[in-house]
Subunit: 377 residues, 2 copies
Amino acid sequence: MAYATIRDVARRAGVSVSTVSRALNDSGRISQETRDRVRQVIEELQYVPDSRARSMHSLHSQAVGLLIPDIRNSYFADLAYSVQHELLRHDLQTLICTADDRPDQERTLVGNLLGQHIDGAIVVPSPSPSPAVDRLLRQGIPVVYIDRTPSAGPDGQTGRVPVVDADPRSGLRSAIADLHAQGHRRVTLITGSLEDSDTLRERRRVFERELSRFPDMSDPQTQDPGIRLGWEPGSTARNARLAAVLKERGTTAVVFSRSQDAIEALGTFQGAGWVIGRDLSLVSFDDLPIFSLLTPSISVISQQVDRMGAVSVATLLRLMKGEEARSLRLETRYIRRQSVGPSPGSAAGVTAPPGTPVLPNGRRVCKGQPGGTGNDP
Amino acid sequence: MAYATIRDVARRAGVSVSTVSRALNDSGRISQETRDRVRQVIEELQYVPDSRARSMHSLHSQAVGLLIPDIRNSYFADLAYSVQHELLRHDLQTLICTADDRPDQERTLVGNLLGQHIDGAIVVPSPSPSPAVDRLLRQGIPVVYIDRTPSAGPDGQTGRVPVVDADPRSGLRSAIADLHAQGHRRVTLITGSLEDSDTLRERRRVFERELSRFPDMSDPQTQDPGIRLGWEPGSTARNARLAAVLKERGTTAVVFSRSQDAIEALGTFQGAGWVIGRDLSLVSFDDLPIFSLLTPSISVISQQVDRMGAVSVATLLRLMKGEEARSLRLETRYIRRQSVGPSPGSAAGVTAPPGTPVLPNGRRVCKGQPGGTGNDP
DNA sequence: CTGAAAGCGCTAACAC
DNA sequence: GTGTTAGCGCTTTCAG
């Protein structure tokens, strides 16, 4: 069935196309009466204005591109959801593009986006500087980086792009304070290979700094409070080795920099006879939905993706209005759950220290409530 | 910076716009020489044709809508990924819309899609018949349903929409056969409330039928091999009750109809001192990425989302070409992992029965390889 | 308050 | 082979 056009409506309502247009947009001068009649006809004909034709004049396509590495990753899916809903509130459509961190695919996708004359873009920058994103920038399209700080490219271009990401400090500080209060003195960070990622490098650096605020938590034997794991996907051998190292160090609590490592190691720890939250306390970055579903539920340092989505959209809107916009770091938040308990052989931890933000057994609402992480009061 | 238009290119190349158009589309007669020159200029100007203007003629927008309940759900995210990549191979853009199973939101989103004159749509039908989707149908837009069979609405409209979904039979049959071979005789299905979902109802029905093929597996005490769980999100109490019921029944193996229930129950079972794969064998529907990461890894009945995406796209393409397209049910596949082991107190299960499709500790490749589930030879 | 007409960027006849 | 021209469906002056 062919689409009804504005002419069809005009004809049927006995008016001209410009009158219909005015009725559609509440613009210009139009009498209440004709407006109602036109609206009536629009209903009858199930007329939907062609947004393509429309946007060719307005210079606004009402569409925003969202470039992420992989939609299958829970974290990015949450982010996409949040961004999309926030944009929808502003009558903007989100074009979700999964670039797989592959430059060629990025090129194709950005080409598509340019062809549609998107009004703006929200981009998770890939590890290496991206020529595709530069193209957006050169075209003068407002861009906001999200989640990762891009490696400063040699071209000054990216210099003026606002970044919205998470500051690991607040979350790590609370987590370490809580672990300390629970009597833990030997806390180990488990991180991925640091070369790959600024994010991981920063977490590591901040972890060390925050740990050093407690003199009794420094480890006299090992200078190095962190353990690096390669990217080999969770070999059992690797996790077994990990368990051995922890035992040798006398570690009573671990913080995982990458949620995936935490998931993989969990079973190994339990298989080794450790009860998580009793024999070993465990905290992971990223508040994945699954972490609150598992038993024991896993304490996390939340990146607050919902807020990140909302804030990045707000930043983009500002840019789109031609206003200035600055980079912003969101606080991470420590959420205590069952996986953290008092250190074995310690009398501490019966009560949490005042001021520690703790949500015992915090549960995440999954359906329908974007903000339902329970983080915000 | 303003976009370069086809006129800019024409002017600069010293030709007319139609010549540029021909160079762009390799259509009509054009000399090699001028074509190269035009291409040259296009490069220089970084010219990108305006797909909106373009599509106003061709009657094709090269865009397809994908309507899913929630992108945050791993299962749908996987599906979206698969669909999007498959469509991209055919130079079609995917407009991912998360409808939250809310009719009003569906209305808005479908309105947007109509406004863009999408060439087709792939839709996960919501439990109740959707007026929004009917609107697409009335407009004559090719639609394919995916994953769920829609409740037959009173309007004949939806009758002619092909459905691509998963047939639980093959997977359940293999799973039950494997469990039987492992010595399990008391197998229980754990399902959600059946009223909500045709899918769950069917799984339940097929489970009973497949179970009855083994005379020694029927349960003399309980007529009812299934346990229904409400939707209360994983209350500890509920899971504890579940454990008690299983013990009382003498169940040695469980099959979860909903992956979420499996995740929630896992910890409770382990907390009760059961070793999964030894004291209790466990199979879940849906091959979520996490299931292969956990220790023990979880045996699953895979819906083969990758294939489902590919097949639904193929079906849609057929429809878009005006050809007939039929509904299709994909086989589900049982993938054995560590969570299934021999029944306690049974001598069986040392070897798997011949012909049973088994992938011990099957691991899912997450990055970069759409087809990397390891299901396809 | 309403209508006629120009044009957004592109494609597709039709001429030359 | 290439240029001219008429639209696609809409918004937006500019007259009435």
